[in-house]
Structures are given as structure tokens and as C-alpha cells.
Symmetry: none
DNA sequence: AATGAATGAGGATTCATTCAT
DNA sequence: CATGAATGAATCCTCATTCAT
């Protein structure tokens, strides 16, 4: 209590620096993936773009794969942020409003960084980090299922696991395909129609 | 504009022997993709497994990409075979039967060679042959849309393009996720329930 | 019997070429080891000196280690050639003449390529090819032991294994140290004295 | 003339703390060499095992080579301790007893740390610290030669330099090969026989 | 047409060493 | 003096592709 620690503890200096390096690397990786594609994302190139030496890259990431995994993770975290928030928000809403919200959020999530999303979906060989992606999927399933369960009385009798699976698959697919392949639907009007329709489908299904 | 390597087979393979060689190469590629993954699929390995020299490989395929594209194409043709047949078959059926048939066919299509399907979906960097995949998607959209149009009178007023988009996305996603991630749903009983539910959702949506 | 094979069977053309490449690589490796030391012997450098591409190097040798092992092997084969010949030659000689011959051969063997011998002894990390070196040692032990056994009647009662071990160790060490560290003993006169003395020691020991 | 990195410790390490650090570093190096081999002995790893930062390592040793040289040196000092003591002890003994003592000591010396001895013999590229090793050899030669000279009257007429060279080579080789390759001879009984035989050979040779 | 040896650019990774803090 | 983050030259190795035979 007597001696106050230095405002910036010594380790903090380096921690800040480390953190910055790590961030720069992940950011550089994402940038290259988006701008030049997976093939061009060599570790030397990534380090260069990050303004760091290759050595530093390997100080923080044990392999190229790990770096890409970090990019995926970061992207997934952002998406999960939206999804978790939406599901929290939705907890007390009736099914139709909730579904509409979720559909909207799904599209928003895919629009956080559509180019990155496309590259991750199309160019990244899924090898190893499958675990993470599955964990991500499981969490979404779990959260949605919990919501549906809480609303069971407003719905017809239904196998909750299957309903969750179908609804999540549907919403995800519509959002994914829209953002990746239907540039023309991204106008506000078309979007509204799309959300309406998708919501109608899912809600109609649930009750 | 980076120049991409050519993607179309170099010659028509009219002669029987040529044809056999081409087939052996495509088959070998598919086998390696399934058994050992994309990373192990080097041109030398492919030629070896095909029982041909690398030189011959390049006689028939201008690049590795072209070979992989051929595998994708072959797989897509098989799928399209099922889908086209189903849509022909379905032409005179009422919406509910038709949708049920299409859902069933979608799952069957994904089950033609699930391991290959997974590899193509997860490990192949989509670079170049996007054109083909999109053509494939467009054809499905067009065929489905034509069917829906012919049944317009049995359906509510609806934007046909959007409805097609949503339905196709949904069915494809359910089939895809089921085959790739839900091994437990592949029992006959679970399958039937899944088809029932998906059909219910889509049909409910359309009318 | 009817059709005579072509004078140079087709495969021979390439086999000759392959053989030449392999030889060039081993030779280049040896040369670099001798002239520039183990540290400078990078695979790219070796390929360059061999007048071949790195790719070719890896067509024939699975690793840098394998190449070095081949150099060691070649050197050991040359030595074993001398040693085997000497032991054959010696079979009917009395012990004193035989030992003299073996001592002489040991020195000759170390002088086949003293610089290479030094590098192999001093700079090459023994990792993996230990097996070969041990096989080599075992063969020498076996051959020498067989000779000693055949001369048992001319020798005192003695544990043959131990005697072999001691004699081989001694002769090898004297030859090795002479060639590597005693440049001044390589004059003919000094050599003769050295052989005399070593022979005297070993022969004196055996009877 | 390639410039070799410096090999001598950078400072005298007079202070206790410095001394402790230096010791820890040398000890860590030896430990890693023995336990994981030369390849794993990176400076960072050494520093880590020593519980010191790489920076500190370079405070005391100007290069990795210097560190390894220190390990070799320490090991050689231990050996020289034994050898010097033995030679002092032996000064007044007759040749047969003296030789027996020296043979015994040679084996003991190799058994001080057989694993380290093996690594130093087999894995360390001798580059630079040759000087030290040669100094070591020269000292042994000198000491032994001095002893033999003092016993000249008990020996036949003989070139002392050559006799020293042959005897030292022999004793060293027997000890070295026994400890490294003849685990089965390390039983007390076998050891005694081995010492007897080696002694017999050397003594027989000297007179 | 077929063969398979040869090519070599390019990529991932390591590690001795330095230097700002 | 100590620290450990940063450096980057250097190394091993792969693999799509070519071309002499």
C-alpha cells in the first residue's frame, strides 16, 4: 500500500509493444488476404506489411496457419459479438420480432467485412482450426436453442434441436449468399424485402 | 490484373486412349483429394496414382488448377444430373410434393460423395473456376424458378426471384450442413424427420 | 532369344544421366566439405557446385543429411576396399607380417583423402548415419577377429574379442592421429619407423 | 580468410554474481548438449535454461562458439586434473605400475561424464577451439614423455617422441572406444581384464 | 504422344546477435 | 548490468512446370 507501483509498470512497456506487434501482424494478414488473396500471403510478405521482421512474426505465431487462424478468430469474435448482443436483446421479444432481429444481425455480421468473409470462406484451406469454427457454430446453436426453448409456448410442438439446426442454417445461408453473391440485394429496399421474407419463412415454420 | 493459369482441358480427348488417360487423371485427383487432402495433391503424385507420367498430365491439362477444376466439374455434373432429373420429374407435381422431392434430392446430391464434397468445400482454394460454380448455381436457380413460375397459381403473391433465392439457399444449406456436420441425422428416421421439417418450412413459406 | 535388346536399353540413357547426377552431387558435397567446411555445405551450394539444380538434389537425396551420409559411405567403402583386400592378402601370412600389413593399410586408408577424413571426423555431426559407421566398425572387427582366430596356435592364450578390440583400436588410433596431427611423420623414413614400432607393439602383445 | 567469431570469455567475472551467471550458462549448455544434443542448443534456449536473458549471455560470452568452447574447456580441465594428478602420483613408480595407473585414469577420465564426452566427440563441429584441444593434447604428451624419459633406464632404446605418441594414442583410443561403444566392458571384472591387457601391451612395448 | 529428369523460383522457418528500454 | 523484443540473413525443401529424349 505504501509504495505505489509505477504508473506504467515496466512490463507494460513491452507488453504494449508486443500487443502492437501482434495486432499489426493479424491486421496485415487480413489486409493481404483481402487485397491479394491467400496465395500471396507469405509469412515474409505479412511481416513486411506489418512493418515487422519475419523473426518477430514467429515470436508470436508458431506458424503461418496460426496467423490465419488468428484472423479467422478475430473475425469470428466480431461476429459473435453482434450475435450475442442480438440474442441478449431478443430474449424478451416475441418470436416474430426476435427472428427479424436475428436475420438482420446475420446479414450485418456478414457485412462487417464482406471481402474478408469471402476470402475466409473461399480461399482458406480449413486445416486445423476446424475446432474453433465448430465451437463457434455450437455456441450459436446453443444460444438460439435456449431462446427457442424459452418461447416454446408460442410455438407448435417441435423437435427443438432440429428446429434450431434448420433455422440457423437457413438464416446463415441467406445472409451468406446475399452478401457474397447478390450485390444487387444490398439496397435498403431490397434488403428490407429480403429480411421480411426470410423472417416470414422462419416464423411461419416455427408456429 | 494477375494472369491466371489456363483452366480448360487442352484437347478434346476424342480418341479412346486419350479419354482413358484423362479419366484416370481426374479420378486420381479426386482420390487423392479425398484420401490425402488438397495439400498432398501434387501434380507428380497425381500422375503417379493415375499411372501416367507428369508429362502426359500436362498433355491433357494445362495446369494443376485445370485438373482440380475438372474434378469439381465432374462432381457438379453428377449433382446436376440428379437435380435436373428431379426437376423434370417434379414439373407436374403440386408444390408440396415437389419441394419434398427437391429437398430429398439435395441431400442425395450431397451424399453422392460426401468426402469429396467436403474437401471441395473446405480445402480447395476457389481461384479461377468460380465461373463454373456460378454457372452451376445459375442453372439451379433458373430451373427452380421456372418450376415455381409454373405453379404461381398455387402460391401467394411473391417476388419469384427472391423466393427462388431463399428456397434454394435454404435447401442447399440444410443438405450441406446435414451431410457435413450432422452425422447423427443420417439415420433413415432422422432423415425423414429432417426432410419433413424442411419441406414444411419451404412449403409454408411459398403459400 | 530372337529379338536382341537394343545395345543401350532406353532406360540406360536416363540411368546413366541419373547416375552422373548422383555422382556429381556426392562429389560436390565432398569437395565443399574439404574446401570450405561443413558450415558452407548448404544444399543450394552443393547443387550449384554439382552443376545441378536444388530440385535435382532432392530428387536423389531426401535430405542434406542423406547426402553427407553418402559421402561418408563412399569414403568408408574406399577404406573398406583396402581393408578387405589387405585382410584377404594377409590370410596366410604369419602374425608379424600380417600386423605390419594391417598397420600399413590403416595408414594408407587414412591417407586416401586425409582432408576429407579430417572433416568427417571433426565437423560432421553424427546424427542418424551412426548405424552405418557401426556396421563398418563391426565388419572390421569381425574380419580381424577371424584372422586372429586362424592364427591362434601362434599366439598366447587370450580373449579373442578383447584382443581384437584392443588391436583394432590401437592401429586405428595410431593411423588416425598420425595422418591428422603428425604431418611430420609422413616422411618415408618416419613412416617406416612408425609402422615398425606399432607392429612391434601389437605383435609383442599377441604372443 | 573468413573471420571467425571471438571465442574468449568477454570479461573476467571477478564478482561473485558474474561468476555465478557464467557458471550457470556453462552448466546449462552442457546440460542441453547432453540431454537434447547440439542441434537444440540455441543461445536462447541456453539462456532460458540458465535462468538468464540472452542479453546476459552475450554479456559474458561473445558468441555461441565461445560458450561451447567453455564447456569443452571445463570438461578438459576436469580430465587434465585427473591426468596431472595421476602423472604426479606415478612419477616414482616403475613402468608397469605407472602404465596401469595411466590406463585406469584414462578410462576414469572418459567416465567423468560419458554422455558429454560423446556429444563433444560426435556432435560438436570443431571450428576454432582446435587450439585448446591441441594444447590439451600437447600437455599430455609432454607430461607422459617426461615420465618416460625419467624411466629410460628401465626401457629399451627407443625414440621417446614416437613411443609417447604411440602409447598415448593407444591408451586414449582404448579408453574412448570402451566408454563410448563397449557398454558391456564396464563391469568391474571386464574392466580389470581390459586394464590388464592394455597395460600388458604398452609395457611389453616399452621394454 | 509419352516419359521422367531437370528446373528454380519461392516459401516457411530458425537462430545468432543486437539494442532500446 | 539485465532484459527480451526485434532483427533478417540464411537455410532447407517443395512443387508446378518444361523439355530433351
Amino acid at each position: 500500500m505504501a509504495r505505489r507501483p509505477p504508473t506504467k509498470p515496466r512490463k507494460n512497456a513491452s507488453q504494449t509493444r508486443s500487443r502492437a506487434t501482434v495486432d499489426a501482424l493479424v491486421e496485415a494478414t487480413a489486409r493481404i488476404l483481402v487485397r491479394e488473396g491467400f496465395e500471396k500471403a507469405s509469412t515474409n510478405r505479412i511481416a513486411e506489411v506489418a512493418g515487422v521482421s519475419v523473426g518477430s512474426l514467429y515470436q508470436y505465431f508458431p506458424s503461418k496457419e496460426a496467423l490465419v487462424a488468428a484472423v479467422i478468430d478475430r473475425h469470428n469474435q466480431e461476429i459473435m459479438g453482434l450475435v450475442r448482443a442480438a440474442l441478449a436483446e431478443v430474449a424478451d421479444m416475441p418470436v416474430d420480432q426476435a427472428v427479424r432481429r436475428l436475420v438482420t444481425v446475420a446479414i450485418e455480421a456478414h457485412r462487417i467485412d464482406p471481402k474478408l468473409h469471402r476470402v475466409l470462406a473461399e480461399q482458406i484451406p480449413r486445416t486445423g482450426q476446424l475446432a474453433d469454427v465448430e465451437a463457434f457454430n455450437r455456441e450459436v446453436q446453443t444460444l438460439v436453442r435456449a431462446y427457442l426453448e424459452s418461447r416454446r409456448k408460442d410455438m407448435r410442438r417441435i423437435d427443438l434441436d432440429m428446429a434450431t439446426f434448420i433455422c440457423v442454417s437457413t438464416i446463415e445461408a441467406v445472409a451468406h449468399n446475399t452478401v457474397l453473391n447478390q450485390a444487387e440485394m444490398l439496397s435498403d429496399k431490397a434488403m428490407k424485402a429480403l429480411v421480411d421474407e426470410t423472417t416470414r419463412m422462419v416464423v411461419g415454420y416455427l408456429r
